[in-house]
């Protein structure tokens, strides 16, 4: 009998019941909750007079709607100027109170983006099943947890039953062989992967990321890769547990300790695919071939090397793809064959659950240090992923490096990744962004997003255009 994949192993240990017809009832160890996709779920509980099955298996924080300016944040929830957003954040507070759910409120020093603070607090543990009403829940797969985004009805379902009705996905292995060249990061790797397999390439699969280049990444880098599994269509991304994973978890506030720790670690060492495991699909990439990536269109698969030119739709054979390319270039107002480095930029955003951890900020600061934001950049935001990331960065003096260069140092939250708060692009503006989606209007009405790594965004901020960060001297 063939061996098991990591996904098979986690799935099987969480199987409660076979419901027939391929649907199974899966136990969920942990649900993360935020203010945007949960109010209707809590309302559903109230209407049906249900209680959470296990309230302690949930953790909440408001992140999507929160402002990032210090003047607003100093006043806590009352500081939220937008009344509709304020009601939503207050609703989360009230719902968590009512249903006994642990919440990191807006004024808690540990507050931040849910996918940043979960691992940071040690709530995310290897081998867990995790859900959240947010597609970027895939992030937590970096720690060997099966983590998936769900809709609000399922948020309510998990609250009420601690389970999910689901069909098991297929197994895909994406193997990145060899070594990334210096200056090329986890973000470039995952953008190159999406460019290769397409935004629907992983639909119906759970993707395990493996190979030497993945093993060489830090846990934070692996989070960046797993975060964007959904941009390749896969609900979940996974990386096998190794010593780095265990070192990352050790000593975190919610991580087990003492005897329980030893017991847990013994189990976690089994969290890898067996050598003879069979995957339904295997994709291999060579890390050395990956250059710093920049997206040029309105889908994360529309990505090329910073040293390339924007594709010419006329050369695309597939009719539907050609139409997509034409539509995207029209929206982006970019001519075919434009060199990536000649795209005009207006704003820079460094943040989001993809790239707002300490490593990301260090990489950006290293590029920015001793330089100034270019004249044509109207605004460059740095938004740390959590209060603790912010404190750490300040301790290292990164905030000073950013502000001296002319970038703005903000309070934690999702910010301009989805622009639900005041951090938005103006109509027609181009932004070098470390976030995860370049969809039409994603960062603001009529805004134009280019997805890049933190180092590349920093390089764009100080030069005013895209440039291969490897050609800049970095301190």
């Amino acid at each position: 009998m063939a061996g098991k994949t990591l996904y098979d192993k986690i799935w099987e240990t969480h199987l409660v019941k076979d419901l027939g017809g391929g649907t199974e009832l899966i136990y969920i160890d942990l649900q993360y909750i935020h203010e945007v996709t949960s109010p209707q779920a809590f309302e559903g509980l109230r209407l049906s007079k249900r209680k959470p099955w296990r309230s302690e298996a949930n953790m909440a924080t408001p992140d999507h709607n929160v402002p990032t300016t210090l003047s607003e944040r100093e006043q806590g929830v009352e500081g939220i100027v937008d009344p509709v957003a304020r009601i939503q954040v207050k609703s989360l507070d009230a719902n968590c109170d009512e249903f006994g759910i642990n919440e990191f409120t807006i004024d808690d020093p540990r507050h931040g983006i849910v996918h940043v603070i979960g691992p940071e607090q040690g709530r995310t543990l290897p081998g867990m099943t995790i859900v959240c009403g947010d597609s970027h829940t895939s992030t937590h797969g970096a720690l060997g947890a099966l983590a998936q985004g769900i809709g609000t009805s399922e948020v309510e379902h998990v609250l009420a039953t601690q389970c999910l009705q689901q069909k098991k996905a297929k197994n895909m292995l994406i193997k990145v062989n060899g070594e990334l060249s210096s200056g090329v990061t986890a973000k470039d790797m995952v953008l190159a992967i999406i460019g290769e397999i397409g935004t629907a390439g992983g639909t119906g699969y759970t993707i395990e990321f493996g190979g030497d280049a993945i093993k060489a990444l830090s846990v934070e880098g692996r989070m960046t890769v797993c975060n964007m599994a959904i941009e390749a269509g896969a609900r979940a991304g996974l990386v096998a547990v190794d010593d780095k994973t265990i070192d990352y978890v050790k000593g975190r506030p919610f991580a087990p300790s003492g005897e329980l720790w030893d017991q847990a670690v013994a189990r976690w060492h089994q969290l890898h695919s067996d050598d003879d495991a069979v995957f339904d699909k295997v994709v291999e990439l060579e890390a050395a071939d990956i250059e710093p990536q920049v997206s040029w269109g309105t889908s994360p698969e529309m990505v090329v090397s910073v040293n390339a030119v924007v594709p010419d739709p006329a050369l695309v054979e597939n009719e539907s793809k050609r139409a997509n390319y034409q539509e995207a270039l029209k929206y982006m107002d970019i001519a075919p064959n434009t060199p990536i480095q000649e795209i005009k930029l207006d704003r820079v955003f460094i943040g989001s659950c993809t790239n707002s951890r300490i490593e990301d900020l260090r990489a950006a600061a290293a590029v920015v240090k001793g330089r100034k934001v270019a004249d044509n950049i109207k605004e460059a935001l740095v938004v740390p992923g959590s209060g603790l990331v912010k404190a750490q960065a300040e301790q290292e003096g990164l905030d000073k490096i950013f502000t001296e260069a002319g970038l703005q140092w903000r309070e934690p939250g999702c910010s301009m990744c989805l622009a639900m708060n005041a951090d938005q692009l103006g109509e027609g503006e181009h932004c070098a962004s470390t976030s995860n989606r370049n969809f039409e209007g994603r960062q603001g009405f009529g805004g134009r997003t280019h997805l890049v790594s933190p180092a590349m965004a920093a390089a764009a901020a100080v030069t005013g255009h895209f440039i291969d960060v490897r050609t800049l001297s970095v301190s």
Binding site: G21, T37, D134, G151, A200, L260, L418, R437, F439
Partner: protein, 212 residues
Amino acid sequence: MRKFSNEQGIVIPLDRANVDTDYIIPKQFLKSIKRTGFGKNLFDEARYLDKGLPDEDCSNRPLNTDFVLNQQRYQGGNILLSRENFGCGSSREHAPWALDDYGIHCIIAPSYADIFFNNCFKNGILPVVLKEEIVEVLFQEVFENEGYELEVDLLAQSITKPDGSVIAFNIEEARKNVLLNGLDDISMTLQHADDINAFETRWQQESPWLFS
């Protein structure tokens, strides 16, 4: 949940691949804490020429007359025809809520993103999967014939065209059952409460650090 049995009506052709959920319902409308009222903001950025605001009266906003939802011939449409990877991106259930609130109860496309597809069944919306060639033919026929209607019969798993010809479609039995009967997933799962309790007891013994 509303039952889905049969849907007959005008087909709205949204000729675009990879329609993402940001496109279906932009982020500013996600501030609502309700499940209803999203229909007027369905496809907001494509549908109107200005930037939409939550709770705004949309009746006087400037319309993008090129957009399919604004064309006279598709008014009152309740079946949406689109291209591959429909509903990709954000997990927001506001997307099916907006479609439903507008009056679209059935979607026809060659493929869907997983989370969106799943969300449809929680809201009485039927996402039909048809081969790309068949979808292509449907697009041509919709474009060529004003007032083009289809009749979608879930029980029979068939779509009847205006000329009387029939297209069969596949759907998982369990999902079909949920839609036909308007079943509540939570009640169904709670019927297995004993199994969940038994699992939990065993799991706590095996992995006590998850319960400490």
